[in-house]
């Protein structure tokens, strides 16, 4: 994602210098880095199928 305004803190790079950002991203990425749960993928397949049958 590109920065469109001002000096918003950037993502993983800047965080090395900033303990608050570093921890914040660790908390967030604990979840974001997980593989997508099957439930979600199943739902997506169902939506796909419904879309094809429209």
């Amino acid at each position: 994602m590109t920065e469109t305004s001002g000096n918003a803190p950037k993502t993983r790079d800047d965080a090395e210098q900033d303990p608050i950002l570093k921890r914040l991203q660790q908390v967030y990425n604990d979840v974001a880095d997980e593989p997508l749960p099957d439930r979600l993928l199943d739902l997506l397949s169902k939506l796909d199928e419904a879309e094809r049958n429209r």
């Binding site: 001002g6 918003a8 921890r23 991203q25 604990d30 979600l40 997506l44």
Partner: protein, 185 residues
């Protein structure tokens, strides 16, 4: 069959799950929120402008879904399980460090507005303008929420951390406000 909408949606799902967990401590409820968001996005897919920011669009839907469920629930009962205190205090298995626990607790002590702004800009990678769009406020408001959130966390974590000398992996116990907060949770 090629479906760019679907591909972009999948790409945004990981972030969306992380964002959902900042609203619900309970993992199953966070997943429900993500599913609900996906269904809504799929139903409204004609409204999505190809080439615009899919992630921001999904975050907006998720946030609105959460808020409308919250309003519905508030009419029924008070927040019975305290899920308003965000999902972040929950300590995952792999994270045994005192400093990280303090940080998670500090996050829960922020106001909802401040925490949301900090997460959107500091972790989800949105610009101030994009975060402002998602929350329906001015970019300047997001900026000031982020800076107040940072100041509050620094205060809660104790000044000895301000120089960054003790980053992650610090097992020493502190007597900061975070400890008092942790007891309240």
């Amino acid at each position: 069959m090629k479906d760019p909408f679907r591909d972009e949606l999948i790409e945004a799902l990981r972030s969306l799950r992380a964002f959902a967990r900042t609203f619900h401590r309970d993992e199953a409820r966070a997943e429900d929120l993500v599913q609900e968001t996906m269904l809504k996005a799929w139903t409204k897919r004609e409204q999505f402008q190809p080439g615009s920011n899919m992630k921001a669009w999904l975050f907006t839907i998720l946030r609105n879904t959460y808020l409308s469920e919250l309003r519905k629930k508030k009419r029924e009962v008070e927040d019975a399980d305290g899920s308003l205190v965000a999902g972040l205090a929950e300590k995952p298995k792999q994270d045994g460090h005192m400093a990280m626990r303090d940080f998670r607790n500090a996050l829960t002590l922020l106001s909802d507005d401040q925490r949301e702004a900090l997460i959107l800009v500091g972790a989800s990678g949105f610009s101030y303008d994009e975060a402002a769009e998602i929350c329906g406020v001015a970019a300047g408001t997001i900026k000031s929420r982020v800076s107040r959130a940072r100041a509050r966390i620094a205060e809660l974590m104790g000044e000895d951390e301000a120089d960054g000398s003790s980053v992650v992996g610090d097992d020493r116990s502190t007597t900061s406000a975070v400890d008092r907060g942790a007891q309240a949770i």
